[in-house]
Amino acid sequence: MAVHSLEFERPIIELEQKIEELKAFNLGGFANVADEIENLEAKKEKLIKDVFKNINNWQITQLSRHPLRPYTLDYIGLMTENFIELHGDRLFMDDKAVVGGFCFIKGDGGKLNGGQKVLIIGHQKGRNTKDKMCRNFGMPNPEGYRKAQRLFKLAEKYFIPIVTLIDTPGAYPGLGAEERGQSEAIARTIYTLLNIKVPVLSIVIGEGGSGGALAFGTGNLVLMMEYSVYSVISPEGCASILYKDVSKTEDAANSLKLTARELSESNVIDGIIPEPLGGAHRNAPLAAEALRRAIIKNLEELKKYSGETLRDERIKKFRNIAK
């Protein structure tokens, strides 16, 4: 756990370790130790609240990329049933940086009964080194986008709502990616998703990095998890290109106004999904439950409209941004 913590989380982690030690020591169940544990738990909660009250944009950016943060498949595992992953773009290969498939979103109380059928498409990052390589660090090649286009059209064919989960540093800047038309793949994905005649809900769950994120970002409603970010460029990239000084990353994160709160205040996004105290990685099931509720609630609303209306409204929404 300690290896996977951010600097500003350290006091919290240290306190947590102390509590764990006490718990291990207190297998006998001594009352005074139990009191001490309870005391420390309260202290921990207050500490997390204090740390997170004054959290800055750069810290939020780090949280959005936290190595323990739930990824697309984690959320799928926690909030869906019968997920059937579908592979391949039918043109060149299966891009593992993008996962997609049909499933039921669980109903209230974890019941399948009343569950909502959806197509989920999301960027997928890897957890360990091997997995990270396999997922290309969540950076899709053109085939990931073309797989998504194929599945969007399938969902339209069966009139099944689409949920996109966004979590990528960006589309992969590689030789093969360019050779096989990364630009066209992204442009065509935006085009396809804008025109799909079913409800589309786009949710940034982690990193919303540039055009590679926007390709999945043209939903009828766009939501962000509380500690996710969405930006035209990473703070590091912005610092190095515009500030010509990599040490200006924090300033860049502030200037870019990339947090859920800022983007919600300026009406670029439609809502924020609250995360558990201390961030989604501290309680993945709770984060998944918040995500599940948001999906069910917002799809209920979108399902009231015809496919044509949903398409037209989506086009209008993005036409009118910062008009």
Partner: protein
């Protein structure tokens, strides 16, 4: 989404003393060219065929019938929505580039005629903040399509851009969705949208409307791609093959319909407009 500040390899300045203003050195073959001759040759090097970048107004002269181009939507001007400041204030950068180029932003839009055929068009100017796409560029592209829809005109867009304008943050990113939304609305009309890619077309512009043309034409040796070559080199830790991300490479890989020499471009556009008009 990177902005490209300079292009080509800068060779050592020779011993020749070049009088300012009359002569220009070709960045590709280093030939010293008489400016008047370069102009007569539509800013293409007579020795090596290097296509110099064109200012928007010069592009209009080269492509549209004399005096036929009417600028539109000139009242849309940049807003500093994020109150952005890096080494310089965004407001100051806008002012500087406005003074430098005489343009209000990186794209000029309007209606013009090609051999008498009416066309709605947007023309990028790389000299204004690297042709980057922020709110003004996105709006003007969108309005070009809307104007074309109301007047049933074909659209031709001449791109030259480093991508999204970072100083406008998320708003610049959203212009990708905005412009693509309008391409899709325009596509209901059954009228051609021709995308002309000129040096360079990258990032948020290449990954939105520019690669969605019914017909995609590129000028010779233009840099066209999603990521900038330096970013790719840094990512994959290997040097890139000769001609990578140039027009000829894209043609070879099936990404564009054709490459057109600047001197032929107007005629090709005319022929296409006649052929694929309903």
């Amino acid at each position: 989404m990177l902005l490209f500040k300079t292009k080509g390899k800068k060779k050592e300045q020779g011993k020749l003393n070049i009088p300012e203003g009359l002569w220009i050195k070709c960045p590709s073959c280093s030939e010293i060219i008489y400016k008047k001759e370069l102009e007569r040759n539509l800013e293409v090097c007579p020795k090596c065929d290097y296509h110099f970048r064109l200012k928007a107004d010069r592009r209009i002269e080269v492509i549209f019938d004399e005096g036929s181009f009417q600028k539109l939507f000139e009242d849309i001007i940049a807003l500093d929505l994020l109150n952005f400041s890096d080494t310089k204030k965004y407001k100051d950068r806008l002012k500087e580039d406005n003074e430098k180029t005489g343009l209000s932003d990186a794209v000029v839009s309007g209606e013009g005629k090609i051999y008498g055929i009416r066309v709605a068009s947007s023309i990028f100017d790389f000299n204004f903040m690297g042709g980057s796409m922020g709110r003004v560029v996105g709006e003007k592209i969108a309005k070009t399509f809307e104007y074309a829809i109301s007047n049933k005109l074909p659209v031709i867009i001449f791109s030259s851009s480093g991508g999204a304008r970072m100083q406008e943050g998320i708003y610049s990113l959203m212009q990708m969705a905005k412009t693509v939304a309008l391409v899709s609305e325009f596509n209901k009309m059954g009228i051609p949208y021709i995308s002309v890619l000129t040096d360079p077309t990258t990032g948020g512009v290449s990954a939105s409307f520019a690669t969605l043309g019914d017909i995609i034409i590129a000028e010779p040796r233009a840099l066209i791609g999603f990521a900038g070559p330096r970013v790719i080199e840094k990512t994959i830790h290997q040097s890139l093959p000769e001609g990578f991300q140039r027009s000829e490479y894209l043609l070879e890989h099936g990404m564009i319909d054709m490459i057109a020499e600047r001197k032929d471009l107007k005629d090709i556009l005319k022929n296409l407009l006649i052929l694929i008009r309903q």
